[in-house]
Each structure stands twice: as C-alpha cells, then as structure tokens.
C-alpha cells in the first residue's frame, strides 16, 4: 500500500464534514477500519458517492435479491449497465429504466434531459443501438402553476434531448396526484437492439490495458449529484442546483456513434458510462467486476476548466463521458475513432495486477483503497419495517359506504369527469413534442396500450410499456406491486406480444422510516410474485429513495418497464375499435362476485377526492391465464382490437376504444344489464384487474378459446361505426354518452389546462424558488 497523505489545502476531516458527506458515524468508522487510517478529503468524497443510496443500494440490495432474474433467454441480468434478453435470430434487446427525480424537482428541463442522456448511455454501452425511449412521469395537481412549470419543463427536456439524438420516444405514462406535488418522479427507460455477438460488458480486464476517458471533457458540474439523489428534498435543495448536470444531446449523438464504432472495432474490452458519481463509480465498478486493480492519474483527465482538484475531477457528473478499457497498443486506434467524431480520448490510467483502487495526482497518491472493498464492503441495511396504522385504517374503509354525489345520477357526467381527469385524459399535448417516428420502426407510437417497434430483417416486433399505479401500492404495497407487473404485462399482451422481462425503478420515500421500508419490502415481494407467475424475470433497474419533501413521502411507486415479443407482424393489435359490426367482449370478466371493486380507484379520487379502501385484488395465476387466452385469440386472428381495463374501469376503457384515435372514431352499444348484483358505479368505474376489452368479428371463436383456457369471457356489445354515441345499458337505466362530449373531455383537457400558463412568463414568475 502507498503512503497517502492529505493534499495541501484539503479541509480537515471533522464530524461536520463527514456529516455533510452523508456518512453516518458507523459508516465513517467502517471506512477507517477498511483503510487502517483516517481517510483524506478525496477519499471521503469517493466513499460519500459510492456509499450513497443511489450508487450502493444499501437499503434495497437484500430485498432486490428476492426477485427472479433468470430465464433461458436472459443474456444479462442485474448488475450491468442494462439487462439483455435474446429475441432469436441472433438478436437481443438491451433495456433499463432509471430515475432522475431530484434533479427534475429543482431544474425540470436539465433534470429530465440528463435523465434521458444517462439511460441512453447505459444501453449503448452494452453494444446496443438505442431504438426507443419511454418515460414514466408523476406530478402534482395541474391546477398548481409550479406543477405546470415542472410538467412543461420535463416534457421539453425529454423531447429536446431524445429528438436531437434521434431516438424515438414511443410510450410511457403520466400521472397527476397531489402526493407528487413537491417531489415529481421522472423515470426514463431506453430500449436498444444488438446482435448477440456484439454484447459487451463493463468489466475491466487484462493487466496492462489502458483506461481511457472519452467523450466530453470533465467540468465542475454535477459534483455530488449521487449524494443529492440520496437525501430528502427540502427548502435547501434549491441551493444544490449546481449539483445538477447540464446535458448536450449533440455531443451524446456523437458519443453514441463513436461508442458503437468503438465496440465494433475490437479495440476495447470494456466501456461504461461515467454517470452517477462519475469517474469514481465507473472505474471502481469496472475494477470490481473484473476483479483487478486500477490506477488513475487525475492530471491526465481532459478538463473543461483549469485548477480542478482530484476531488472535483473524481466526483464531477459532467455529462456525455465514457470510461473505456482499451487493449494495450490500441490506444491510438481508439483515439482515431473519437477524433473522427470530434471527441477527445485520453489515457488516464491502467489496469494493474495489484489488488488496489488507486488515484494519483501526477506521482502523488491522493486516494487508495484495498482491492475492490470500496464496492463490496459498502454497508447494507435492513431497517425496521412496520405498516403505517393510518394507511391500514384507510384500507379498511368500505368504499361502497361513500354516498354518491347528486350529479352521479347521470353516469354520463361521471364518465366525462373521469375522461377529463389529467391522469386519464389524452397526453398528446406531451407526446406531440417527442419525435416518435425517427428510425422508422414505430408501428404503434404513444397513446396505445404499449408501443410496438418492428425488428428490421425479421418478421418480429417488440412491445414496450411502463406502468405503476402508486395509489394501489400506497393502500396495499403487496397487491400494488403485483398489479404494477400484471398491468404492464397485460398492456404489452394487448398489442399481441408475449411479456418477456422487466426492468424496474423503485421510487420510494425515506427507507429509514419503518412505514416506508415496509412499503418497499412488500411492494418488491408483490412484484416478485407476479414476475414468477407471468414468467417475466427482472433484468435490472434502479432504486430511488428519499422521495420526500416537507409535506411527506410520495406514493410508493415501483415503476415497471416491460418488454414483450411479437413473433409475427400480422399479430400486431391496436387498442381502439376499428370495424363496425364487431362484437365487443370482456375477457377475464370476473363475474358479479369479484367485479366492481371501487377501492383505490380513479373514480374515488376524482369524483370524491378520496384515496381509500382495499385496492382491486390481483390473482397472478388468473392474470397469466387471461394473457394466455388473449394471445391465443390474437394468434388465431380473431381479435380486431384489445384494450386493457385499468384506470377509470370498464366505462373509461370502452370510451377510449371509441374515441382515443381521433382519425377513426366508432360508436358502440353495450349491454351490462345482467350485472344486477352491482351498483352502476361499480360496474362502470370499478377497477377489477385481469380484464381486457376486445372487439372481434368471430366472437364465438374468442368465447371458445377463453372457455378452453378456463377464463370467463362475455359478449357485452357491438361496435356501431356510424353511431354518434357510446350507449351502455345498465341494470338501472341506460346511459348515453355522445362521442362529441367524450372526445372533448378526453382530448381537450390537458391542452386547455396548459394554455393557462402565461406563454411568455419570465423564469422568476414561474419559478418563485429560483428567484431567490
């Protein structure tokens, strides 16, 4: 081991400084024990980043280990930059989801943009060309002007970045709920396509090989971003704005092309994004995976400004940078490829046999850790878990005891209210700002149940979707976790795809609070149950904790990113009715005794302002059967359209089937009069799971397939092409919903609300926090 001494000018290591670095007393003692001495300022910075929740998963690792991660087609499970599954024909799909919540809460445009940039790099460092972006967003109520500022900033940030790099943004979800008011969630998912033989891992190998920094130069931006992401948001968060990185999608595009060329060239053995905790985490993680030592000289790192200290260089989160392990003697060839794309490449270190992680400043050692213990010895916690009695009490409330409002006498009123709830209403205002068709693979773009992308050179396509209903998870994390996976699976199945695998982004509050840790544990357990039943292993993901503001934690929101495979292009199925005369069927129709569950529904939240009751039950085996029956019917070519029944229940699903595609509306006549054991609102707006609305010209074949699969299925109506209404016959009366009103509620709501933001408001007007 080298003699490591504090650098001239380093601050003294005091308890206050340790606290500022987010380390507990015990963690600091653990560090001292590991080193056998007090750390230097530089070493403290390194550990602060690597042991942050964001990098170390110290509160979630033991829980994540319970998730299923294998299937014969999984080529790469958790632990790499992205998961990879084989789709046959020598091709594979790499995919991963990641959060950028805290930066987006403070600086929505750059926060969201760099979230997109980071996840893109995670995918192309696997050797995959990105083919699609998705994003899962949560905001407070749109009635709030700051929420509108955050929403429009995030959407613009996502669009500007993805559009410029030239990757289509094809799907996702946007949910509005007061629980996210101060702490929005911004999760970005990237999907890439690769030839199996091009798969590359971020594993440092080969003693004597060179470690190179490529791409953009290192500046002082984003220092301690990883630690910032690992604490609660507070009034002081705004002062941490400098911790937010600034993105440059143009450089990203060049880096994407250069990296793929580099991987193809065979000049390198490993490549990794310098993402959270920058050079520090990328180099330490690559060394740990390869079980080798590394030495890095910070004076060799190309910087944007002079006078940067080792601490700053190591912890900078400047964007669009990569760490590459080049084969010895190929450094010039690497440089040549980067130069072609007008980017820099510099040798900054070496893979060494000595089991040590060493950072030098010229010839002086400024940080040194034994072996890979920096990564492997980070603490791991299993804090107390206890359900909040308040939430348990909410769950115990019987929603049917909530009296109807007088307006509800006409269910058409209620349906319009729900269609104009921003969570349900069309999100075209947002996705019209995303280029969804570049690269010419998008068969179904934003607005469908899932997006579908053809796979060139094959007769296959992939379907992708993100999902999570945080309200369900809040009321019952076990059930909510199951539903998040099941709904994502149902959504991709509705397009004709077999659900294959998931990535997940666990957005929770502060895990040191027992109520939050309980949610995390239970939700992951529920996810695991559903993943096992549906045969969709977890190939990776991201954990974002401390999503709390002074007003409390966000709803626990484990976002699921699902990838499905469509074996034949002719099986691609759309959500909306498309042929007059088709029969309308409810597949998975759970029957009177199970249907009509109102707990945790959008109906209760929107119409009554209440979040209570048990969320809908979720029988994962039943979900599997329904998906199998649906796919069999689609493959038998007897399904004209298929749409998942989710937020807002059956009535909203039917309305969407009629009017979601403005180019091709249809009316429908529905008869639900024999569900006489249920109240109208339960039939129309209950959110019972495992249900799909189908249209078919051969209903008897669908019924036969369902019967054989042991799944209930009922014919409930007919598509009427020239009707100007959705008419639903109920046990008590008939409700007639003119399409013009449904259309207006669904399509005009969000544009109307967003028009309220003054177009040329100054930054200060829109962002009162920033003004100070």
């Amino acid at each position: 081991m080298s003699d490591v001494k504090p650098r001239a000018g380093d601050p003294a290591i005091t308890p206050a400084l340790i606290g500022e670095h987010g380390l507990t007393k015990q963690e600091y003692e653990r560090l001292v024990a590991m080193l056998g001495r007090a750390p230097t300022f530089t070493e403290l910075g390194i550990v602060s980043a690597l042991w942050s929740e964001h990098c170390s998963y110290k509160h979630s690792r033991p829980i994540l280990k319970t998730l299923p991660t294998t299937a014969p087609y999984v080529l790469q499970g958790p632990g790499e930059n992205a998961g990879v599954i084989s789709i046959g024909d020598g091709l594979a799909v790499a995919f991963k989801i990641e959060s950028h919540n805290h930066p987006s809460a403070v600086e929505p445009y750059q926060g969201a943009a760099t979230g997109v940039g980071g996840i893109l790099r995670d995918v192309f460092t696997m050797g995959a060309r990105p083919i699609a972006m998705l994003n899962s967003l949560r905001f407070g109520s749109l009635d709030d002007s700051r929420v509108r500022y955050l929403f429009s900033g995030v959407v613009k940030g996502i669009g500007d970045y993805g559009n410029c790099v030239g990757i289509p943004t094809v799907a996702g979800e946007i949910v509005f709920d007061p629980s996210y008011e101060k702490n929005p969630l911004v999760n970005a998912m990237c999907v890439g396509l690769l030839h199996e033989e091009d798969l590359i891992r971020a594993k440092a190998e080969g003693v004597g090989n060179s470690i190179m920094a490529v791409g953009a130069r290192t500046g002082r931006d984003g220092i301690h971003g990883a630690s910032f992401a690992s604490e609660d948001l507070s009034a002081a968060s705004d002062a941490k704005r400098p911790r937010i990185q600034v993105g440059d999608p143009f450089t990203e595009k060049l880096l994407l092309e250069a990296s793929l060329e580099l991987i193809k060239s065979g000049h390198i053995v490993a490549i990794q994004d310098m993402g959270a905790a920058g050079l520090t985490s990328s180099s330490a993680e690559m060394a740990e995976r390869g079980d080798v030592g590394v030495t890095i000289d910070v004076t060799k790192v190309p910087t944007r400004e002079s006078g940067m200290s080792p601490y700053e260089i190591l912890l900078s989160e400047s964007q669009e940078r990569m760490l590459v392990v080049a084969k010895k003697g190929r450094e010039d060839s690497v440089r040549e490829i980067l130069t072609k794309w007008d980017l820099t490449a510099a040798v900054i270190g070496e893979v060494i046999a000595e089991p040590v992680y060493r950072v030098t400043e010229g010839s002086t050692v400024v940080a040194e850790f034994p072996g890979s213990r920096l990564v492997t010895d980070c603490p791991s916690y299993s804090p107390a878990a206890r359900e909040s009695s308040e939430i348990a009490a909410l769950r115990a409330v019987d929603p049917s005891a909530i009296a109807e409002r007088s307006e509800e006498e006409d269910p058409a009123w209620t349906l319009e209210q729900l269609l104009s709830a921003p969570t349900i209403a069309s999100k075209a205002w947002a996705y019209r700002q995303y280029d969804s068709t570049v690269r010419t693979n998008t068969v179904i773009g934003p607005g469908g149940d899932a997006a579908v992308l053809r796979v060139r050179g094959t007769n296959k396509a992939i379907a992708v979707k993100t999902d999570c209903n945080g309200r369900y998870v809040y009321l019952d994390p076990r059930v909510g976790g199951r539903i998040a996976v099941a709904e994502a699976a149902r959504n991709v199945a509705c397009t004709g795809a077999r659900p294959m695998a998931i990535t997940n982004c666990l957005n929770f509050g502060n895990p040191t609070r027992p109520e939050v840790f309980y949610q995390l544990k239970e939700a992951v357990a529920g996810m695991g149950e559903a993943c096992r039943a549906l045969g969709t292993p977890v190939t990776g993901g991201n954990v974002s904790l401390y999503n709390e503001s002074p007003s409390g934690a966000v709803y626990p929101t484990p976002v699921i990113g699902m990838v499905g495979l469509i074996e034949d292009l002719s099986h691609i199925t759309r959500a909306t009715f498309n042929r007059g005369g088709d029969a309308i069927l409810l597949l998975g129709e759970p029957g009177g005794e199970l249907g009509g569950e109102l707990g945790g529904t959008e109906y209760l939240a929107t119409i009554h302002g209440k979040v209570l009751g048990p969320p809908p039950r979720c029988d994962v085996d039943q979900e599997r059967k329904v998906i199998d029956a649906l796919l069999e019917a689609i493959r038998a070519e007897v399904v004209s359209s298929a749409h998942d029944c989710s937020d807002g229940g059956l009535a909203v699903a039917l309305a969407e089937c009629c009017i979601a595609n403005p180019e091709h509306e249809n009316g429908a006549e529905i008869d639900l009069s024999n569900y006489s054991s249920l109240a109208n609102r339960e039939i129309l707006f209950g959110e019972s799971q495992a249900r799909i609305v189908l249209s078919s010209s051969s209903p008897e074949r669908v019924l036969a397939i369902a019967a054989k699969a042991g799944v209930r299925c009922a014919r409930i109506g007919t598509v009427v092409a020239d009707a100007d209404a959705l008419t639903i016959k109920l046990p008590k009366g008939t409700v007639r919903n003119p399409l013009v009103r449904l259309r207006h509620a669904y399509h005009e709501t969000i544009p109307g609300i967003m028009a309220r933001t003054p177009e040329h408001a100054t930054f200060d007007e829109l962002d009162p926090v920033a003004a100070h």
């Binding site: 613009k156 669009g159 500007d160 559009n163 410029c164 790099v165 030239g166 440059d248 999608p249 143009f250 450089t251 595009k253 060049l254 794309w341 007008d342 996705y431 019209r432 700002q433 995303y434 280029d435 969804s436 068709t437 570049v438 690269r439 010419t440 693979n441 998008t442 068969v443 053809r454 060139r456 292009l569 177009e759």
Partner: protein, 230 residues
C-alpha cells in the same frame, strides 16, 4: 441510380433515408461524410433530417459550411437533383439553394405528428407520380419548421408553381388548424427555380411502409427515379 445521403454530425434521419432508398426503392445508396469533398458519383443527393451541429447558432447555419456542402452546391448548380428533408431543408435555405428561411414553430413547441399535405404541382422531378390536389399523409417532426419569406418571394413561388406541398386538413383545405408550425400560406415544401432542389419539412422517408402508417412518400422517391432515369 445512386443516391448519396450526407451525414453531418448530428444528422439522425440519414439512416432512414438510406433504408428507404435501398429497401423500398431498391436503388444504390451511400453515406457521404461531411468532412469529405467527394460525392462518390452520386446522381441524387439527400440532405437528411436531424440536428446537424446540434442546431447550435441556428438550424442549418453551421452545416452549410461543411466541406461536403461545397460539392453539394456545385452539384445543384449543375442541375443535379437534391432532396432536402427537414433539417436538410433548413440547410438548403441557409446555403442559398432555396429562398426563404425556417423559423421556430409559431406555438414554440416541437411538433411530432402525422400531417396531411396537398400536392400543388405534379410536374416536378419529385412529384410526377402524384396527381395535383392529391392529399398525402406524412409525418413531421421538427421545432423550426415555420417557412417564411417576403411577400414578393411567396407570390413569385406560387406564381411559378414552386410551392410543391401545402399543409391541409382532412377536407383538403389550407386551414390554420392543419398548419403544424405556422408556415406562411401553409407551405410545406418548395423547389428551386431550376426545379432540381426540393426542400420540405415532412419526412417522405418515414412514409414508406403501410405497417408504419403510410406509404405515401414512396412515389416521391419513385418520381425522381422516373424523371432522372428518363
């Protein structure tokens, strides 16, 4: 026939154009690198969409100074066909191959949507397989697509039949609602005086497959083939 697709740093529709030429048209295509001075014997040049040089300074403003543009301009001046799509249209205007300019969309947002455009002139190198008045469904995806020029220039373009495409609604009217970016007179595409340079904001190369929603762009490419090969 050989198509040369220029790749500027930041081009991102070069691949789509290349695929449309080779897969759909079945013709030869080659990528032309922005730092080169070699059109590699291309008969037709495509300036593709994307964000050349990140659209920094102004869309197309830096790309026009790329080494390859010297040769593209010479090719155009000699009557060689140039198809300039989206960012390519912006570059062609900056390079003086087409009149007018493309400004920030009037609503200040990026717009990605399938739009309808009407064929205003079916007697061009790029539209001879369409019929005048025919309505095509083609995607747009841009932030700076508002075509502007002085009233004199606009009058002249219209009088000379050089406005090739206009944005229209389902009924075929050049309504304000049908105009995705606030372009003057709903103009979606124009040709040069000599008729050999077409600039348009919509992406015909993205409308080459019924699977993806529309193949209305195919005949634009076939028109070039029909006229140039003749």
């Amino acid at each position: 026939m050989k198509f040369g697709v220029v790749t500027f740093p930041g081009s991102n529709c070069d691949y789509d154009a290349y695929q449309a030429i080779t897969e759909i048209l079945g013709e030869e295509a080659t990528y032309l690198w922005h730092k080169d001075h070699d059109l590699q014997g291309s008969d037709v040049i495509i300036l593709p969409g994307g964000f050349s040089y990140g659209d920094y300074l102004r869309a197309g403003a830096i790309a026009r100074f790329s080494p390859i543009m010297h040769d593209v301009v010479a090719h155009a001046k000699a009557g060689g066909p140039v198809l300039a799509i989206c960012n390519g249209f912006q570059i062609a205007c900056e390079a003086g191959l087409l009149p007018g300019a493309l400004m920030r969309n009037s609503h200040l947002q990026f717009v990605s949507a399938e739009v309808r455009i009407r064929v205003e002139n079916d007697d061009t190198m790029f539209t001879n397989l369409y019929n005048r008045g025919e309505i095509l469904r083609i995607p747009v995806a841009h932030g700076d697509g508002r075509y502007v020029a002085s009233a004199d220039v606009l009058d002249q373009l219209e009088a000379e039949g050089r406005v090739v495409f206009k944005y229209v609604d389902a009924g075929g009217a050049t309504s304000a609602d049908a105009n995705p970016n606030g372009s003057e007179r709903n103009i979606a595409g124009i040709i040069s005086e000599a008729g050999n340079v077409l600039g348009l904001m919509p992406h015909p190369e993205r409308a080459c497959s019924p699977l993806l929603g529309s193949n209305d762009g195919v005949r634009l490419l076939e028109s070039i083939l029909a006229r140039v090969a003749a």
